[in-house]
């Protein structure tokens, strides 16, 4: 029996799932982002309290002081669901791959001035631990956040930071021997220049309010670190001194941050817009962590910039404060 299915014109009974239709309107076709995100988490009664946190429900909005009338206001401006996320990253990964291949095949690392290469290694390799810390801190939101919109975006961020930590590891292997990673770990654990930053990251590991962790890590720390390290130092200072090979293999990070900052900005904006009191909370968190991030990043920037670190930091801060103002955060 043959059937001509394509030409059968039948009226659908509905356009989307009921919980999606309730949010976007029954007459609208839902996007894959919407269907894959809205109300994926159980709300309402749950069967058992977690043994690991008996003071809360398994899914509990009270794990942050942020209040939301709609937890699905945390929309992703990139509209990433799993499929579109991995497809976007696989393209960026390909570009990064060819950059690594290019630098390696032409032995560009060897062509770099020794001193410059050493500065790059000293600056970049301990950052793999910082990226891993950021990954953990975003895993906190993926685990304890409320609603699929925010847990999904935070998990992508956590995986991206793991990817960045791995790219940084590869830079170490490309520019030097594996022992360089050990040297960098020692610096991360003991060198004075890295201690304020390590303390900050470890303090975030024990912070219980997941939205505060998100603000401190993604908005403040990464919001200052990426423009400072990759924007100002790698892409400008090092590149001009003959380190364009380093800039090439760091391109993933620069592009990634331009994109990921749109995501975190949207989350902060959504929280402020949803409930007025969130704005004060967020501003307080930004003030607290901004001061610490600045003093933690200064000695790190000095590895490459020496006395010029402070001036460079001021420039980065000026841009950052403009960004905050646009978000409506009065820090």
């Amino acid at each position: 029996m043959q059937m001509d299915l394509k030409t059968v014109n039948i009226e659908p009974k509905r356009r989307s799932y009921a919980h999606v239709a309730a949010r976007i309107g029954a007459e609208k076709l839902a996007s894959r982002y919407q269907e894959g995100t809205f109300d994926m988490q159980v709300e309402g009664p749950q069967h058992y309290r977690p043994l690991w946190d008996p003071a809360h429900d398994y899914f509990d909005p009270d794990r942050t002081r942020i209040r939301m009338q709609d937890w699905y206001a945390f929309k992703d401006p990139r509209q990433y669901y799993y499929g579109s996320y991995v497809i976007a990253r696989s393209r960026q990964q390909e570009t990064a791959e060819s950059a690594f291949a290019f630098v390696e095949s032409r032995s560009l690392a060897d062509a770099m001035p020794t001193e410059l290469r050493e500065t790059a290694l000293k600056l970049l390799l301990p950052l793999r631990h910082v990226a891993w810390g950021s990954s953990m801190n975003n895993e906190t939101t993926a685990a304890y956040g409320y609603g699929a919109a925010i847990t999904q975006g935070a998990l992508y961020y956590a995986m991206d930071q793991l990817g960045i930590a791995q790219f940084l590891t590869r830079i170490g292997l490309l520019l030097d021997q594996p022992e360089a990673l050990e040297t960098a770990r020692e610096a991360w654990l003991h060198d004075e220049a890295w201690q304020p930053l390590r303390r900050l990251v470890e303090d975030l590991f024990v912070e219980k309010d997941w939205f505060e962790v998100l603000v401190a890590q993604d908005l403040v720390l990464d919001g200052l670190l990426y423009p400072l390290i990759y924007g100002a130092i790698v892409d400008n200072v090092l590149a001009m001194q003959g380190g364009s090979a380093v800039a090439m293999v760091c391109q993933f990070q620069s592009e990634w941050h331009a994109e990921a900052s749109k995501w975190i900005d949207a989350q902060v904006k959504a929280a402020i817009k949803d409930t007025g009191a969130n704005g004060d909370l967020i501003a307080g968190w930004v003030r607290k962590w901004r001061a610490r991030a600045v003093s933690a990043l200064l000695p790190v920037a000095a590895i490459a910039l020496g006395d010029g670190a402070e001036e460079q930091m001021d420039e980065v801060l000026a841009d950052f404060d403009k960004r905050l103002a646009k978000l409506g955060v009065s820090a």
Partner: protein, 516 residues
């Protein structure tokens, strides 16, 4: 200096270690126990997290690349299926009820799994297992979304799927899978990964997914269930993770053995109880059958898992004792379940039907010891009642097991005509169980299981009436409950009366007419 010539070549294992556990460090500004506060309260002793063997070695760049390739292929198939009215190629409209069972019962658990693995991916203090758990958390997000996307097209044309979110949260029968997963997720990190990563994804995985995936293929569903094939390479990673965790715990300290064995006993039983739904699906709901539940049990449990448990015997692990009862129930399980759903069809969100004569002959052949003796007469009697226009329907909600939440319909093992009665008293209240095994689970953690929200109890407590006012003069509790549950007459009842059956025939007729 010439780095290129002297550069050391790293082995894959060393390189992967640098890419994962090499990233971690022992915190000193905060205590390690404060950073990882949850991985010790269960009593599992880990002396050396570095002894963890990575079960697979996938860096993020490779992960993005492979997964993107899979997603491109999968969504191309889904698009083609939707555009070409692929749902009309199904073997029979009854098949759609399998899709309903899947989206309502299983897809929401994938999101739960994403959260569960995110939680333990944050809590284990070893970096190696944390990275593996993070990746699984991401995979589970994939499974949740690809299932919702794949079934979206069915939802546009057929009933019983639109409210899967609400139904999964509130419909009594769906509390069987939901409470199963919440039970695991609300346990400690090691119990969670034993329950989900090992008992469910390793021991029972084939019993869950083979019937759905092969059932889809046999019944012409090339769209909705393609995600099953696509997910298999993810599952292979999840299985190796589950097994590695078990071996790791057992190798780290002999004191871990009794804890692990207790969990294996509990979660094998909890898992098999949830599989009641799958057993019923494969024996009664697939218009074209793949294999019977009894056959699947023989292949995927007795043979495959028999070998697995023999392998674990060197650690002192034994086959969970509940397996004896599963064997005794093997030839009853699906029949009892279908009878139950048939009688309670007014509160289902999928349709039921009585097995046809051919169906019953197949069931007799597959279950020679039980079907003709205990179940055929019942179905023939109910068929007569349907013919006479007075189809049989149960009036009151059944008593449910306090642990697995399945109605206590099971017979005494070895005595099919006597219903098993198990109960105990806790804090002056009486609790009922389907079996000795669920009762043991309860008695081990009564404070946990007294919290369970059983459908019938919730109804009596008035928790399922929504905004309706129970003191109003014309208050109709059943109508209020149905409205709150968002159950429409189109969602429930007999398949032959359903809008789905009528539409499927109509649309198929149009397709044939077009061809002519």
């Amino acid at each position: 200096m010439d780095i290129a010539v002297t550069k050391k070549k790293l082995g894959l294992k060393e390189r992967y270690a640098l890419m994962t556990r090499g990233l971690g460090w022992e915190p000193t500004y905060q205590s390690v126990d404060d950073v990882f506060p949850m991985d010790s309260f269960e009593g599992i002793k880990i002396h050396d997290w570095d002894a963890w063997e990575d079960p697979f070695r996938l860096t993020m760049d490779a992960y993005w690349k492979y997964q993107a390739e899979k997603e491109r292929k999968l969504y191309a198939i889904l698009d083609a299926f939707a555009q070409g009215n692929g749902h009309l190629t199904l073997s029979d409209a009854r098949y759609i009820n399998t899709v309903k069972l899947f989206i309502n019962g299983l897809a929401p658990l994938e999101y739960m799994s994403h959260r569960g693995f995110a939680h333990i991916g944050r809590q284990f203090r070893g970096v190696g297992p944390r990275v593996a758990c993070m990746m699984q958390s991401l995979d589970e997000m994939r499974h949740a979304q690809t299932q919702v996307h794949a079934i979206s097209n069915y939802n546009r044309y057929y009933d019983g799927m639109a409210n899967f979110r609400h139904h999964h949260t509130y419909l009594p029968y769906l509390q069987v899978p939901r409470s199963f997963f919440e039970d695991a997720a609300s346990g400690g990190p090691f119990e969670f990964i034993t329950a989900i990563g090992f008992a469910f994804e390793y021991v029972l995985t084939n019993l869950v997914f083979v019937p759905f995936i092969s059932g889809a293929a046999y019944n012409g569903d090339m769209g909705a269930m393609t995600f099953g094939f696509s997910a298999q390479s993810d599952e292979a990673r999840h299985m190796t993770l589950g097994l590695e965790v078990i071996k790791f715990m057992l190798e780290q300290d002999p004191d871990n053995l009794p804890i692990v064995q207790k969990w294996l006993n509990k979660w094998t039983w909890r898992g098999v109880r949830v599989l009641t739904l799958v057993a019923m699906m494969q024996d009664y709901m697939l218009p074209k059958r793949v294999m019977s539940w009894a056959e699947a049990w023989e292949i995927y449990f007795e043979e495959n898992c028999g070998a697995l448990f023999r392998d674990l015997a060197r650690y002192g692990i034994v086959m969970p004792p509940c397996v004896e009862q599963v064997r005794k129930e093997r030839d009853h399980l699906s029949h009892m379940a279908w009878c139950q759903f048939y009688q309670a069809r007014g509160t289902n969100n999928f349709h039921v039907w009585l097995p046809s004569k051919e169906d019953m002959d197949w069931l007799s052949a597959k279950y020679p010891e039980t079907f003709d003796q205990y179940y055929r007469p019942r179905f023939e009697y109910w068929a007569k009642m349907e013919e006479e226009g007075t189809p049989f329907e149960a009036a009151t909600p059944p008593q449910q097991c306090q642990v697995c939440q399945i109605p206590t319909i099971f017979p005494v093992a070895g005595d099919p005509l006597t219903r098993a009665e198990h109960s105990c008293t806790h804090d002056g209240e009486r609790f009922h169980f389907c079996s000795q095994w669920c009762q043991e689970i309860f008695e081990d953690e009564p404070e946990k299981y007294v919290q369970a929200k059983l459908g019938a109890h919730e109804l009596y407590k008035g928790n399922l009436f929504g905004d309706a006012d129970p003191t109003a003069e014309d208050f109709d509790p059943m109508a209020a409950a149905m409205a709150f549950l968002k159950l429409t007459p189109e969602d429930s009842g007999l398949h032959s009366d359903s809008r789905d059956a009528a539409n499927f025939d109509l649309w198929r007729g149009l397709a044939k007419a077009n061809e002519a």
